[in-house]
């Protein structure tokens, strides 16, 4: 009983020992907050990645894909039909996106993805990432007549997008009208517009010509809808059609080219006030240069009309992906068998029913389809390195932070040693009263345990308080330092996500208390070994 009694009594009377416990408190609190924030980020990222990729991806090793997606989809249903909730074929090729900004051509390297507008939204969160509410309900590559979201709809209090007001047909018509007015003014002033081949050739045009020459490509006009509309302000259009379709004059005010949904990062940026500014808008035309499916591939360029923007909040995808209708892409690339009309595709995206075991289905499909021809991966397989990197980051951070608590342990060790020295006489008294060495050691071990519990408990309270108010904490820090602590334009979140995992918290506390107890072992042993007579003489 004296062990328990003295532990409690020392806890109450020796406040200086609580100083040693402050580092335990801070260490525990920090670990809780950091783990919660990292878990929140990791979860957000996983959710987004999983939203972008479908559950399973079915591909062939060959670069030109595989023929007859219909047949393959039937076979997939046969192999794992009851688990499959949706499938869609896609074609993916690297490409160059070209558009004009204030008369200058801008080129961006992209991944051109042909999708089936009817089925694609069913296999991933694709529709959530579009900017027009009607497209979110059902994607269409037809240009919409206004109604695009003028704020970032995925984020509470998201950035404003006033430029999207009037995007779609209104913007397109206004632009066409402006071009016509400008051209009329030019001709009225006696300057001829769009001379064939004359006029200064700008460096960007030379570069593009060089690329085309190197790949032996030709500029081919293959759209059904129209010849290339004239460039708005440049006198020379290097992509000008060789020969327009006979008998049909393309009216850009009322007709569009093949629809395209580019990633929002390709043509927009966020300015310092948090508003998004756009280089191109729905209704503008862009040109995309991509390789055909022949051997060797040739570069082909075509015109497309922007109909919406894709925003997944992950810059890797938003600055890379460009979506077009799969049927048009197959046709333009020559992926359709001329005799049978059966197209080829690069991959089939599969969404599984809720509760399905992804790895299990993947393995089943791998058995059904020969591995030397086909490759089947889960979304985790595809993004494995990225997710593994995040996991490793968390592990390393936890080790480093635990060192803080370990350092606290040394503080406890030092303070306890001094307490034992200070209490040498009292230990002698206890022994003279019949207390054994084990009991005396237990007093100090128990004291260490209690201090650990108090410190960890305070750390738990502090850590949870900060975690649950993390955004207010961020505001306070920003107010104090005057710096942006958490820049939304980098992270694409406005509010810091946190997830508190009870098991993680339990382990943190157990570790901290364990260190406190371990730190009291040496002083406890010293107390145990004191000789009663010598101890009594102390002081």
């Amino acid at each position: 009983m004296y062990v328990l009694f003295l532990c409690c009594r020392y806890l109450r009377t020796r406040f200086i020992a609580l100083a040693s416990v402050v580092s335990v408190t801070l260490g525990v609190a920090t670990m809780i907050v950091v783990n919660a924030v990292m878990a929140g980020f990791a979860h957000e990222m996983q959710t987004r990645i999983h939203g972008i990729l479908s559950d399973l991806v079915f591909e062939s090793h060959s670069l030109s894909g595989f023929q007859d997606p219909q047949w393959h989809m039937e076979e997939l249903r046969r192999a794992a039909g009851d688990e499959i909730a949706g499938m869609t074929p896609t074609v993916a090729v690297p490409a160059m996106l070209n558009f004009q900004v204030r008369g200058q051509w801008v080129t961006r390297q992209v991944m051109l993805i042909g999708i089936d507008e009817q089925t694609h939204a069913a296999v991933s969160d694709f529709s959530r990432y579009l900017q027009h509410p009607d497209n979110r309900r059902q994607l269409s590559f037809a240009l919409r007549d206004g109604g695009y979201d003028t704020v970032d709809h995925q984020t509470e209090g998201g950035s404003g997008r006033p430029a999207l007001e009037g995007a779609g047909w209104p913007h397109r018509r206004m632009r066409v009208a402006r071009e016509r007015a400008w051209r009329e003014k030019q001709s009225a002033a006696g300057i001829s517009a769009a001379p064939a081949g004359d006029g200064p050739v700008r460096p960007i045009d030379r570069q593009v010509d060089a690329v085309l020459a190197a790949t032996g490509g030709e500029v081919v006009q293959a759209t059904v809808t129209s010849p290339v509309p004239e460039a708005s302000a440049a006198p020379v259009d290097p992509f000008r059609a060789a020969a327009p379709d006979e008998g049909h004059v393309f009216d850009p005010a009322n007709e569009q080219s093949i629809g395209v949904v580019p990633g929002i990062g390709l043509a927009s940026f966020r300015d310092s006030t948090g508003t998004d500014r756009f280089l191109i808008l729905p209704g503008d035309d862009v040109k995309i240069t991509f390789p055909t499916a022949g051997t060797p591939p040739k570069a082909v360029t075509d015109t497309f009309t922007v109909v919406d923007f894709y925003e997944s909040k992950m810059s890797e995808y938003d600055s890379n992906f460009v979506f077009v209708p799969i049927a048009d892409l197959e046709r333009l690339r020559g992926m359709v068998d001329p005799q049978t009309g059966i197209p080829s595709v690069n991959s089939i995206q599969i969404r599984l029913a809720p509760g399905a075991d992804l790895e299990d289905v993947r393995d089943r499909l791998r058995r059904a389809f020969p591995a030397d021809v086909y490759s089947i991966s889960t979304w985790k397989d595809k993004q494995g390195p990225l997710l593994a990197a995040v996991d490793m980051e968390m592990a390393v951070l936890n080790i480093l932070l635990f060192m803080i608590v370990a350092v606290a342990g040394f503080g406890i060790l030092a303070i306890f040693f001094m307490i034992v020295v200070e209490k040498t006489r009292d230990i002698g008294i206890l022994k003279s009263l019949g207390a054994g060495a084990g009991g005396v050691a237990a007093v100090f071990l128990g004291y260490g345990l209690f201090l650990g519990l108090v410190g960890a408990g305070a750390g738990l309270a502090l850590g949870l308080a900060i975690t649950w108010n993390i955004n207010r904490v961020r505001e306070v820090v920003e107010w104090i330092t005057g710096q942006r602590v958490f820049d939304p334009s980098i992270y694409y979140f406005f509010r810091i996500p946190t997830i508190v995992d009870p098991w993680t918290v339990a382990w943190i506390i157990a570790g901290a208390v364990g260190i406190a107890v371990a730190a009291s072992v040496l002083p406890a042993l010293r107390a145990a070994r004191l000789h009663p007579v010598e101890a009594l003489r102390h002081d």
């Binding site: 009263l433 019949g434 207390a435 007579v533």
Partner: protein
């Protein structure tokens, strides 16, 4: 006169050496001493004569290098550690020159300390009330009823020594060992302590061994033993 009952506490041929520097120092060179039940013995000696050492050995606080310590006729110095701890807790009460009270505990808690050592938390739950009453009664007997919840730093020297005596008695030991109990006290307080001890011996039949350097104090005991250079000279 042969005493049929075994001595409350006795030592036979007790030897104690200290190693220091290059050589060894023989502090006790073969002590024989028997304290009959109800006896009040004073051990007198000058500083360095080994009288405190003798008392520590008798109180099982230290182990002899030779000879034996007997409690109620049973050899105690060769017992296992746990048994010796228990004897120290229940059969022997000790009072020191510097009182040796635990500073964080008040008077009652200090008196209860040996009982807190003896019983575990579960056993304590049932004994708590009785023990407390016992301790308060003992303190009342020594005139400390108004000081029950004072900490040692709030007590005078004499009061602290009386608390220490109460503590020594709370387990109803067979023998009380007192090492210069009045050493730090003025004459009046010291006399009060000695009166208390004499009363305990006469009224309760408590065997007492008192160590002192002052022959006047020793004279209050029934029997005086002189310790000179590690050996006993009977007076």
């Amino acid at each position: 006169m042969i005493d049929a009952a075994p001595a409350a506490i006795a030592v036979e041929g007790l030897v104690k050496r200290y190693r220091s520097g290059g050589g060894t120092l023989d502090v006790l060179r073969g002590i024989d001493l028997a304290v009959a039940p109800g006896d009040f013995v004073a051990i007198v000696g000058s500083s360095g004569s080994g009288k405190s050492t003798l008392l520590h050995l008798m109180g099982l606080l230290d182990a002899p290098d030779g000879g034996t310590v007997l409690l109620d006729g049973v050899r105690a110095d060769d017992q296992p550690t746990g048994r010796r701890d228990r004897l120290r807790n229940t059969a022997i009460g000790m009072v020191f020159q510097s009182y040796h009270l635990l500073p964080e505990l008040d008077a009652v808690e200090n008196v209860l300390a040996p009982l807190l050592v003896r019983h575990g938390p579960l056993a304590w739950l049932s004994r708590r009330q009785a023990a407390r009453r016992d301790a308060e009664a003992l303190l009342g007997r020594f005139g400390l009823a108004g000081r029950l919840h004072h900490k040692p730093r709030q007590l005078s020297g004499g009061e602290m020594q009386r608390v220490a005596i109460a503590r020594a008695l709370v387990t109803r030991p067979g023998v009380l060992l007192a090492d210069e109990p009045t050493g730090n006290l003025d004459a009046d307080s010291g006399a009060g302590i000695l009166d208390a001890l004499v009363e305990l011996n006469r009224a309760d039949g408590l065997s007492i061994v008192l160590v002192t350097h002052d022959p006047a104090i020793a004279a209050r005991a029934d029997r005086v033993v002189r310790l000179v250079a590690g050996r006993v000279e009977d007076a």
